[in-house]
């Protein structure tokens, strides 16, 4: 897909949850909390998404600080860039929706 394709809701919330390094279960909790319980990531979906985000180089899996047995996911510079771009895109969508439906909202 050319330019900047939209992220899925799952990808968006995973990247957003990783503003601080986090382990898998933490991402599930953060997503649910951030979305006020609306978005729940199922573990299988999350696992698949994390693997493909690692493959793309948007996130990395590293040993957590001070505990080499525990691993955490961390957002890379590229991942952060994608996330910022997506927020801008979403702003545009929301702005246009508000402009046209303004009175109904």
């Amino acid at each position: 897909m050319p330019g900047n394709p939209a992220l899925t809701e799952a990808t968006y919330y995973i990247l957003l949850s990783l503003h601080r390094p986090c382990h898998g279960y933490g991402i599930m909790q953060q997503t649910e909390e951030l979305s006020g319980g609306r978005v729940r990531l199922a573990a299988g979906t999350l696992y698949g998404a994390l693997n493909s985000l690692c493959d793309k180089g948007w996130i990395v899996l590293e040993a957590a600080d001070g505990d080499s047995r525990r691993k955490e996911y961390r957002l890379t510079d590229k991942g952060r860039e994608i996330l910022v771009r997506e927020v801008k895109r979403l702003k545009e969508l929301a702005r246009n929706g508000e402009m046209i439906l303004g009175e109904e909202l």
Binding site: T8, E9, Y25, A42, G44, T45
Partner: protein, 168 residues
């Protein structure tokens, strides 16, 4: 603890039905404890205290560890199918929460069916030529059945893809 073992056969395209049955058992007070070939062993539990899920997943220890971290319990695996359960009090338990990952699950099943079905087809044809129709017939029957399964899985996939055209 009271246990019972039941024998049940599910075709590969009936995995949702299998899961429904396992959850009906759990709602009845029998939660899945181990799986074998067409054999399901259940242990007594408080009715409705567990949700059971199954999926096709290649062997991956990391995945099982990941699931356990999220509070799911690994029950076991049979062929390429893996079984988990989770206490209902620990929240809703699903393996997939979006259309994309449901489609990739169906793709995984489709790939295995294609590989096994294709192998049966080749063996069946080779045997038919060399040893006569009866020997090759078994493989050809298997191949036909697997291809039928592939069709059913493909149908499920198409329905999801249609849904995805409008929303994720």
């Amino acid at each position: 603890m009271e246990r019972k073992t039941l024998t049940r056969w599910f075709w590969v395209w009936q995995f949702e039905k299998e899961e429904e049955w396992l959850n009906a058992m759990a709602a009845d007070g029998w939660v899945l404890e181990s799986v074998g070939f067409c054999r399901y062993t259940f242990i007594r539990c408080e009715p409705g205290t567990y949700t059971v899920r199954t999926e096709m997943h290649p062997y991956d220890e990391e995945y099982v560890k990941f699931m356990e971290e999220t509070g799911a319990e690994y029950i076991g695996r049979m062929m390429m199918w893996i079984y988990f359960r989770k206490k209902t009090e620990d929240g809703v338990f699903d393996l997939y929460s979006d259309i994309d990952s449901r489609i990739s699950h169906l793709d995984r099943i489709g790939k295995v069916l294609t590989a096994v079905g294709g192998a049966n087809l080749l063996i069946g044809l080779a045997n038919s030529f060399h040893s006569g129709a009866r020997v090759g017939g078994v493989n050809l029957l298997c191949a036909t059945l697997l291809m039928y399964g592939l069709g059913r899985i493909h149908g499920k996939k198409e329905a999801l893809e249609k849904e995805r055209e409008l929303h994720e």
